[in-house]
Symmetry: C2
Subunit: 494 residues, 2 copies
């Protein structure tokens, strides 16, 4: 396998979707499994998930949330207790009908999400206002039967975290929903270097069973939108279905107000489609395991031992420099000593898997006291004195992380348009991008856009980033000015 010259990656301009698949498979991030719609996450991909988990887990815990684990199986009757919820999820459920060599009395659904099973426990655990807020998260696998799947982006089984909280008042639930949305925004931008728009989902796009759904939306390099995380205000919908009540300090029994929020292995797909290029994966340093690879150029040189020794010393010097720096993570530095491969093959391989920095050092470099340092993101190469290389490498890692976010943000901004006329929108939608427009909040207008153009409302963006469009303008679709207009982002999406 390691002998094979890597296959060619389809260029993005030729076929974006083929390009994506080529990168995922050739960088050995994931593979198709024999089970329809289920993927295998290979070590290179799982290492990225581990970085995501450990960083996000820390952020979630900082807000006072604790991890727990709830059963994989949900009795079928539980799912049916919340009417919208079962309507939304039943068509996607995988169902266990026999177990232990017997037909089950009650069928068990493999969790598509855990609001119902968790509420059955919350109803037992919550008694008094002193038990609130109850802040729980779980890292788990979930199953949603999908017809059309795509590695990381949409798979029958995926890994995620799902937070579930109970609060005494509607205000606190709304505050928690928004707080976790902000955690996702910060995480996506600081760690994945993926700029996102936080916003409110339209009624027709909200979570089945929620009062209100917020999401973060990212723009991929093909200018399509990717929903990268959601945070739901569930009000008391599940609490009423399961009897999750508490005795308040005023002596009255009340239903709790709840939230749930989650991000999944889909983030890996989003990160790939945000940064990677025709050579393969471009990995933000915060997600890398190996940050710097040193390739000694040996050939048949009699200086081989000296070059290898210099490479090892340099590796240690880079680790030391990172340790002493303000870099908020530990870095991995490898020396690629494999003598069965040519340097050219190695360069190609390290580009494919996205190692942020590459150092080349050969006998002639050693004589001159220098080495070649190459950035994966820009491809920029420079000769640099060995003594200065460690500090430079550390500086570059921070620059690459910041640069990837900036570049992606500039790309998104350049492809975000304000539109007021439906004709203009229809003439532009085929070239992709985010379209910010006034919308009358009528489902009919939302539906018409989808039918005409396959674009959907990604969100009603929060904040003031899109002020060129005033909420007082007439609806882009129907032109009416009677009902409450809002600013909506229309786009084609994954």
């Amino acid at each position: 396998m390691f002998d094979r010259m890597a296959e060619k990656i389809t260029p993005r301009t030729q076929d974006f979707s083929e390009w994506y698949q080529d990168v995922v498979l050739q960088a050995k991030l994931a593979d198709y499994s024999p089970v329809k719609g289920c993927m295998v996450i290979r070590p290179n991909g799982y290492a990225i998930w581990e970085r995501i988990q450990s960083n996000l887990d820390r952020r979630i815990k900082k807000t006072g949330v604790r991890n727990a684990y709830f059963p994989l199986f949900i009795p079928e009757s539980f799912l049916k207790k919340e009417a919208d919820h079962v309507e939304g999820f039943a068509p996607q459920c995988a169902v266990v009908t026999y177990a232990g060599s017997k037909d089950l009395e009650e069928k068990l659904v493999v969790r598509p999400t855990s609001e119902t099973i968790i509420n059955s426990m919350f109803a037992r655990w919550v008694q008094s206002y002193r038990d609130l807020p109850l802040l729980i998260n779980q890292w788990a696998n979930v199953v949603r039967w999908e017809m059309r799947t795509r590695l990381f982006l949409r798979t029958t089984e995926f890994l995620w975290q799902e937070g579930h909280t109970c609060h005494a008042t509607p205000e606190e639930a709304e505050q928690e929903t928004r707080q976790m949305l902000q955690v996702y925004v910060d995480f996506a931008e600081e760690i994945l270097a993926m700029p996102v728009v936080p916003g409110l989902k339209s009624e027709s796009e909200k979570f089945a069973g929620a009062l209100r759904t917020y999401s973060i939306e990212a723009m991929m390099q093909d200018k399509k939108a990717l929903q990268a995380g959601t945070s739901h205000n569930l009000a008391s919908n599940f609490a009423k279905a399961f009897g999750t009540q508490f005795l308040d300090s005023d002596g009255k029994q009340k239903f709790v107000h709840q939230t749930s929020w989650g991000v999944s292995t889909r983030l890996i797909g989003g990160m790939i489609m945000t940064h990677s290029d025709d050579k393969g994966l471009v990995l933000p340093p915060r997600l890398a395991t190996t940050h710097v690879v040193i390739v000694p150029i040996l050939g048949n040189s009699p200086m081989k031992p000296q070059v290898l020794e210099a490479a090892d010393k340099l590796a240690q010097a880079i680790r030391d420099a990172a340790g002493k720096s303000a870099l908020p993570y530990e870095i991995g530095v490898d020396v690629d000593r494999d003598e069965t491969k040519q340097p050219g093959w190695k360069f190609h391989e390290h580009e494919l898997v996205g190692t942020p920095l590459r150092v080349e050092i050969g006998p002639r470099d050693l004589e001159k006291g220098q080495a070649v340092l190459t950035r994966r993101d820009t491809g920029a190469k420079e000769f640099i004195a060995i003594g200065q290389l460690p500090e430079k490498a550390v500086t570059l890692l921070a620059e690459i992380q910041a640069g990837l976010l900036e570049k992606a943000r500039a790309f998104r901004d350049a492809n975000t348009f304000t539109v007021r006329s439906y004709d203009e929108f229809k003439s532009k939608i085929d070239s992709g991008g985010f379209f910010v427009a006034p919308w009358c909040q009528d489902k009919a207008c939302e539906g018409r856009v989808k039918e005409d153009t396959k674009a959907t409302i990604r969100c009603l963006p929060l904040g003031s980033d899109f002020t060129p469009i005033a909420e007082t303008e007439p609806c882009m679709v129907c032109g009416r000015s009677e009902s409450n207009r809002v600013r909506a982002i229309f786009a084609r999406a994954y």
Copy 2:
């Protein structure tokens, strides 16, 4: 809920099994779920699992293993490809028969273990001897339909890690099997403070599909054995079933030689039954999140602000002392500021959840420049000068960790007996313990012991800890000296 005075814990001497359940439920480690046999791991319990995961994961990775993730579902036909494997697992399987509102063409088994689905991928990934060894681990949930379940010890769904490796030769596979067994021994003793006997399973107790199974066996406080981890040499059994072959350096196609090995959330149950007492959980410091709790004794004292300030300062001083010490982990120090609870209630509560050290400090203590330091494991209390307390606390944490292992080891050794006569064995088995005896390796003798006494062969212990019994002595059960005798440990087990 926090108002309720904690219920009474059944004493161990009265009913060990009730005691265990009381500790698990009252310390809020786990709870029963509405799904038969499935448990909910509550935050106090899950925090222990997170400690187990992060430490063991580091040890596994140190041996060169990388994490990955394979599908939850296994096509039914895969399970049938290895004859012993399907015979062992089929009766315990939960099966998905419809999904996405349709009957499935091929039923999907919820993984009881992943040798088959993983081999279907290994068969694709392994081509050449240069791809070997292939060393993979996954952290996952698995499902085995159990009739009689017990929180943590035996549940329908449980969490575990399962390692799966491929090697070029039988010798390397055996070496890997033994290496991972040793990783489990070290982990159990150094982190869980749970002494274990590593050994070989008898033919009738080995993993369905393995050539050979090793296990680590621990003794609980009721003198029953608990199998705490297993490591299997699978030979080429699964490789042949799935065609996992490689082109060796001699130009020949060969089947890989494989291993698999795992530990699960059962370890938490084992840890509880090893150390805990009639007041609740006793937690080895390596598994604690809060290592020291400081309880300010306030009453109506006018010195309340001073006491609270002293408590906060002390907490920071303990953290600092730990940071500067050789203690190989970060410690958590909490000040229990809850003014709605009495100190007595708090002492009880912190004992229940197993916090290793408790500090009490009140106005009179403050005047004298002292505090009270209490160990959870022994209950020993002492007055100590506030200036000396931080270093003392750090020393005690190390002492508690070592002391728990020593105590458990002494208990096990005191209840491990060598027996040569079957009558003697039968007269002693009811009082519990490990019985080391010569065995002729005949299944009939093994079966007879089980029928007569409910005891099973836990393992054929490795190493020389049990040399009083020579392998040349006649079988304890049948008295024969013809066949190959071995030393076996007989015990009743969980």
